[in-house]
């Protein structure tokens, strides 16, 4: 393998990984705070994809404005989804699996609703950033570099909020015993909703960054869901930082496995890695502070 290819593989891995990290950290956040495993997370991405499509392509708004509007709308949707379909279930004793079931149902529902509304076609979104950065022999379009940078920024911001602010502490308290949180006066219902909104924003950011590359379709989010889950587990359940690190790792593993084995086995390699890790270290690779 040449040095150029090696560098390319690393860069590719980091870029794919940054998306996995965005998706995974959103799931981890929700799981960490509410113990809800949200199977409809991918559909939030998908909705964000259609958001960008609407604002940036159909209405022709400037990219930044379109992105902002999309994120706001997806956050709102996330909050509404939480209020309407998840919050009522959390009051039940056996909610954990109920919620999994409900979000799976929601995920199919949203997918097919999107299909009815927008049709099955894959719709393209033009690159937000044009041009290709050429460093030596490595060529990388700015769009891809932007994915990496923006993802890092957004995740950093989230980590800051989570570990350095009062809101973060409240979120983590609610995570661990909602009734007790209620007893000290934390409006845990609202906190849950807020967390969902933040996680939706992460999903939305991922989708916005991705949409020019993968095009928008009703299935856009579904394909990232399992990877997102894998990242959450690898990182140590519910750990935000762990999920971010695991996202990059998984991206790298995939990128390198394509180079060494053929493409169709790369996911097998990634998932075998997951199972091996679980076997050896059930607490995850980067288990640290739980969110």
């Amino acid at each position: 393998m040449s040095a150029t290819q090696f560098i390319e593989l690393i860069i590719n891995g980091l870029i794919t990984g940054s998306i996995y990290a965005l998706v995974g950290s959103g799931i981890a956040l929700v799981y960490g705070t509410t113990r809800v495993l949200n199977f409809a997370h991918g559909e939030l991405m998908m909705l964000a994809g259609y958001g960008v499509l609407l604002f940036a392509v159909t209405l022709g708004w400037p990219v930044l404005l379109a992105a902002l509007a999309t994120i706001l709308i997806v956050m709102l949707l996330g909050a509404v989804i939480q209020r309407v379909t998840i919050a009522p279930l959390l009051k039940r004793e056996d909610w954990a699996f109920n919620v999994v079931a409900a979000t799976i149902g929601l995920s199919i529902f949203l997918q097919s609703a999107a299909q009815l509304i927008w049709g099955e076609q894959f719709q393209g979104v033009p690159y937000f950033f044009n041009g290709v950065a050429v460093i030596g022999e490595v060529r990388m379009p700015w769009q891809r570099i932007a994915i990496f940078l923006v993802a890092l920024g957004v995740m950093g911001l989230c980590a800051l909020v989570l570990y350095r602010t009062r809101l973060g502490r409240i979120i983590r308290a609610t995570a661990q015993d909602a009734e007790a949180a209620l007893a000290v006066g934390i409006p845990s219902g609202l906190v849950h909703t807020a967390v969902f909104a933040i996680s939706a924003a992460l999903a939305g950011t991922g989708a916005i960054l991705l949409s020019p590359l993968v095009t928008v379709s009703p299935w856009m989010g579904a394909s990232y869901l399992l990877k997102g889950f894998a990242v959450v587990i690898l990182g140590g359940l519910g750990s935000f930082g762990g999920a971010v690190a695991a996202g990059f790792l998984l991206g790298l593993i995939e990128s390198f496995s394509v180079a060494f084995v053929s493409t169709e086995w790369s996911n097998v390699v990634a998932f075998l890695f997951l199972i091996a890790v679980i076997w050896a270290r059930p607490e995850g690779l980067f288990a640290g502070r739980g969110a």
Binding site: M1, S2, T4, Q5, E8, L9, N12, I15, T16, Q115, G119, E120, Q121, F122, G124, V132, R139, P141, R144, L213, V214, T215, S217, W219, S223, E254, S255, V258, A259, S262, T263, E264, S266, N267
Partner: protein
């Protein structure tokens, strides 16, 4: 005179639903024309036809369920199916002997279907495949390149070829066939990368390709956005290679979304083009008038498939399955996409004399046929 019911199954929902809907339009239009007295009749007294179509979601077990429903509930005398998927067709063709029902598939191309027919001709005597075999592409691609190297349009370099194909029978069979023909000419296949359908990130594969440095890259996808992404990323990585695309440029959204990066791409097969072919344009306009959207290759192919079915029933003069199958076998029908004539393997034949498989190039943001020379609209650039 009693009405004869024909059933059809195709992907009306799921990722291939767009194509399935085109099929439905084509099938409906043919039946409508037939019943309205505008058909291409064989006899003086053509039967009236009713069409019922069911969804498969692109899944074999669903298709079987749907077909059984058509058979037992609607009492269909013939089945068009699957309209798109080869793997679904492989399951459906079993119904022909089980239910003594003539089955004609529409767009599926897999050579595996023809192989299966040849493996037990007796059993599959009622099954017919309304499209050519996937190996047809391979021959066209190989013959085109040979022609281009011979007349110095392209340089064979180190004689290395690589494939990036979708992980379906369609993609893999094409890669194998083209690879075989090139190897026979002394070429080496550096790699065959199979990616899951609808993949849109090819950077890891491109990185691998750059290392191998092939002279020809052939890509096969059925999902247009895979193709769009591949062509764009190929350009970003500025790989120094000749690129030929199979299938996906037939999708209108390909040129709409990739015109800026697809310049110079060779592709096969430009079987339907409203811009270049007045006959196709007329058909497309017809569809436009009827359904409010332009016609595509899939619409036209479904239309022709239905015409074959209708003419066979008409010619058979009864709904006797064997008689209908016999008439399908005798088909020699000139339709909008070409001349339909079945081969011994129950598949439609391809090539200049039958259904042409022309190679095109995107020039100035437009498709031009560049090979074979007799139908070319432009020279390769």
């Amino acid at each position: 005179q009693e009405e004869i019911t024909i059933g059809a199954v195709g992907p009306l929902t799921g990722p291939a639903a767009n194509t399935g809907k085109d099929h439905r339009q084509g099938l409906e239009l043919a039946v409508k024309d037939w019943n309205d007295g505008k058909g291409n009749y064989v006899s003086q007294n053509p039967p009236k036809i009713k069409l019922v179509m069911e969804d498969t979601s692109g899944k074999p077990e669903v298709a079987i369920s749907a077909a059984q429903r058509l058979i037992t509930r609607e009492n269909i005398k013939m089945l068009i199916g699957d309209t798109l998927h080869s793997h679904v067709t492989l399951a459906l063709m079993e119904l022909a002997p089980q239910y003594n029902l003539p089955i004609l598939s529409a767009e599926p191309v897999s050579s595996a279907i023809a192989d299966k027919v040849l493996s037990d001709e007796e059993r599959y005597q009622l099954y017919w495949k309304g499209n050519w075999n996937s190996s047809g592409y391979g021959t066209a691609v190989h013959d085109f390149y040979k022609w281009a190297f011979d007349n110095k349009t392209l340089d064979p370099g180190d004689k290395k070829i690589a494939f990036v194909v979708e992980d379906t029978d369609y993609g893999i069979a094409n890669a194998e066939k083209v690879g075989e023909l090139f190897k026979a000419d002394g070429w080496t296949v550096t790699s065959t990368e199979t990616v899951p359908p609808a993949t849109t990130d090819f950077y890891p594969q491109l990185s691998k390709l750059r290392e191998a440095g092939p002279d020809v890259v052939v890509s096969v996808f059925t999902v247009a956005n895979s193709g769009i992404a591949f062509v764009r990323q190929l350009k970003e990585q500025a790989l120094d290679t000749s690129h030929l695309a199979i299938y996906y440029p037939t999708k209108p959204e390909f040129l709409q979304q990739a015109a800026d990066v697809a310049e110079g791409t060779y592709w096969a097969a430009l079987t339907f083009s409203s811009e270049l072919n007045p006959e196709h344009k007329a058909f497309s306009d017809r569809v436009q008038a009827e359904y409010g959207n332009p016609g595509t290759y899939s619409t036209a192919h479904a239309y022709c498939t239905m015409e074959i079915a209708l003419r066979a029933i008409d010619a058979a003069g009864s709904t006797d399955p064997k008689a209908i199958a016999e008439q399908i076998k005798n088909t020699d029908h000139e339709c909008v996409v070409g001349r339909f004539k079945f081969d011994k393997d129950h598949a439609v034949q391809s090539g200049p004399d039958f259904i042409p498989v022309p190679v095109a190039q995107i020039q100035g943001g437009k498709n031009q046929i560049i090979w074979p020379e007799n139908v070319a609209t432009s020279k390769p650039q």
